[in-house]
Symmetry: C2
Subunit: 470 residues, 2 copies
């Protein structure tokens, strides 16, 4: 790995001239013309401006930039909406930032193959709106709807509906990718099956912009389920709520989503949104959704689940089958991250995933850590798929105390997740912030294998250096 410690070329005026000649003055930004937003993502504490930020409109432009960067040994970071939580799109070595948000066209809906072809800068909210207007469905449902599809593929984003429908990777049929040397390759396509060599498509999914730059996407769609029903189920305490989940899974009902939430997070969301939540009398809640093509079809499932919840000590089961009621509950759920953030000075998060029958044990452990370290911890997340979002809040701690406690608490949490045979990240990725923990869990041999894969794509290590495995 000698190459990693070589210095990169510093950009000079000739380089800038190359970009201006290629893209025109209007799409090339340097110095004070680069908005502060581009120096970081949603992770606090890690920031650096790129030396140049360029807006691209085509794969050919991306390719020409990569050929130039490769020849001249200049680091490159691709960026979408910048909604990541682990610093993946922060240009920690400076260099070129390729902004893909203007490549935001929906190119083709193919109803005979149930595929949607689009550019990487299309936002999640636009995909949902477009496909639903055609009575079709793109199941992945991450909370952050202003993320781009390119970013979602790069973190293999999961979201609420993973219990029934799986994650982003499961809906990526094909990609066009610009490699670090500028070559443009097509991986996958509209085909439903593929056993034609190594699945580079699946490797690009979740690679956090380190192996190639996605310039076109072919998504798999499903028919839009005609009905959905949500259950809000209050429990006397969180442990009761979460330990019910494996029993639901075991019952062979298939909910679309199972989220858990606690009163304190609900109260924060009420304050943040200025809207009332339907019920907040209990300490803990499960929120479930069921979907299907008829009320009858889902009724059998949700009645079975409602009975399991009641048997396990649920206080009540509220059924939301109107759009307004569902909206009020799910909009609160969607605001949890921002709501918790608004209650404190700074925070950092842990996005572990554990087997579904270990969620209760993990959340109970974070509660113990809260007392042990005298620090405020809030959690919510995807009880149905084992992916828990735990937020450690700075409140009025000094920077010194905060950094020390945060590090200690993280060490404990990731160790616990490893003990439970979980993984460091369920859906937010590793990026810059979680490298230490992945390295600790996987060990040197495994990390070296990932580095070898990185070098197979990027022998000069110019694409998003310093992320994931180095």
């Amino acid at each position: 790995m000698e190459m990693c410690i070589e210095r990169y070329k510093k950009l000079d005026n000739n380089d800038i001239k190359f970009f201006v000649d290629l893209l025109g003055q209007d799409r090339v930004f340097t110095g004070e013309n680069i908005n502060e937003d581009y120096s970081h993502d949603e992770l606090g504490g890690v920031s650096r401006y790129p030396d140049v930020m360029v807006e691209v409109l085509s794969a050919e432009e991306v390719s020409k930039i990569m050929v130039y960067a490769y020849k001249n040994n200049i680091p490159v970071v691709a960026r979408g909406s910048g909604t990541g939580l682990v610093g993946s799109s922060v240009p920690i070595e400076g260099g070129i930032m390729i902004n893909l948000t203007k490549m935001n066209n929906i190119l083709e809906l193919d109803e005979e193959n149930l595929t949607l072809t689009l550019e990487p800068g299309v936002l999640l909210m636009e995909i949902a709106k477009f496909v639903e207007s055609h009575d079709l469905f793109y199941p992945p449902d991450p909370g952050e709807k202003s993320a781009t599809i390119g970013g979602n593929i790069n973190t293999n984003a999961g979201g609420m509906r993973a219990v029934k429908y799986g994650v982003t990777r499961d809906y990526v049929r094909g990609l066009e990718v610009v490699l670090p040397n500028g070559n443009i390759i097509q991986v996958g396509g509209k085909v439903v099956k593929n056993s034609s060599g190594y699945s580079i498509k699946d490797l690009i999914c979740g690679s956090e912009g380190t192996l190639g730059i996605i310039t076109k996407v072919i998504l798999k769609l499903l028919p839009l389920p005609k009905k959905s029903i949500s259950l809000l189920v209050p429990f006397p305490n969180l442990n009761r709520a979460i330990t019910t989940v494996p029993k639901i899974i075991k019952s062979k009902a298939i909910p679309t989503a199972i989220e858990f939430m606690q009163r304190e997070v609900i109260l924060a969301a009420e304050e943040f949104l200025g809207k009332k939540f339907p019920d907040k009398s209990s300490d803990a809640y499960l929120l479930l959704t069921f979907d299907g093509n008829s009320r009858e079809q889902i009724e059998a499932d949700y009645e079975k689940v409602a009975n399991i919840c009641l048997k396990e000590g649920a206080i009540d089961v509220y059924i939301s089958d109107t759009d307004e009621r569902k909206e009020s509950v799910w909009s609160a759920r969607g605001a949890f991250l921002e709501a918790v953030k608004a209650t404190t000075t700074d925070m950092d998060e842990c996005d572990v995933v554990v087997p579904r029958n270990k969620v209760a044990e993990f959340v109970k452990y974070t509660d113990e850590l809260q007392k042990q370290f005298n620090i405020r911890i809030r959690s919510f997340g995807h009880a149905g798929d084992g992916n828990i979002h735990v937020y450690i809040l700075k409140d009025d701690l000094s920077n010194g105390e905060w950094n020390k406690k945060l590090s200690d608490v993280f060490d404990c949490m990731y160790k616990k997740s490893e003990d439970l045979k979980g993984a460091v990240s369920g859906e937010h990725g590793i990026g810059y912030a979680k490298k230490k923990y992945i390295s600790r869990q996987y060990g040197e041999d495994y990390i070296q294998l990932m580095r070898n894969i990185k070098l197979a794509f990027d022998p000069k290590n110019i694409l998003n250096p310093g992320k994931v495995c180095e």
Copy 2:
């Protein structure tokens, strides 16, 4: 790629002694003690005996063998049931064959996480029997039920139910893998989501034994659908049958499977099985299945599809809702490969996958080739997922004529598939036999990237050399 042209070490008595010391005399086979079966798979025309065949019982044994092979530069091929169709498990460089069929224990059914943990040598038919006895479901359904799960993962096998349920990769949650240098790694696990570094799990799926040896598998299961119904739909000709399929997809009904078949293949299956097919009065048929939890739930779907078929010119729609009737139809479908084989002296197959709305065009083209080259061609396959199995039959051609015609016909077919934006293999893999076609379709840059990935795992190129991308 200098390493690829280096010669491998020839096995000598010291090497054999190492294996006998490690495994005992009973599990080490050399010379005439190696059964002829181990010199080939189901692909005709490519065979070689390994220098030694060893039966292993644990990952630790596999690891020790790989450490030894790596140190001594000896090629290694892993093998399951040997049911592959492209020569993937043929030891074309000789060396060591690791036979994994004795690692055939089902280790754990976890009903709270809906996972099944098992060794790689468990057969597909055993998995189906075991999980169905627990009211659970492993959806992938390749025709060859005596294949091992390890082999299925290595080809990313698809099968009949891919239309609704996807392929093998979609059901692999975790793997234990022995790398070429002997390191044992765990990838994935029981977790439902994972964004923790490059997805080595997804890269191993479909890598045809070239990147690592799978020694443990964690599969995702689903609840077993309570009802299923099959429709056998006769059409006046194949074109009518196949062009109906995109209309079914577009209708937003979701069949579990959509297969197409022609009378001549049905007649061959009747003769082969000695059993009557329910109907053979028509030239062409679609066979569809629908599954769900109640008859009502699937009725709406299959009635819609039946009406589409009739509108598109179907002669009738036969509904099979009893186990016996379904069995008679699907057992014929399951026997097509062997039945066609029994009608000729030798055959080779093309396993292309094209977008679902291009199947009719592709099959029509194979019909033209049949006339153009005056050679018998039979096809059947997965109309619902675009994966077509086309068999070119030798009949009474001389070897010279056969090789020439086969090569010419293959060239035409793979070119056509490429024009239709298809891929070389839908589910059988590339192995030894299809390297030329993948190389032609993907081009040198793409193949070089695959080779780089291969070297990231296997810098000495000792694991299953000469396959997929070299």
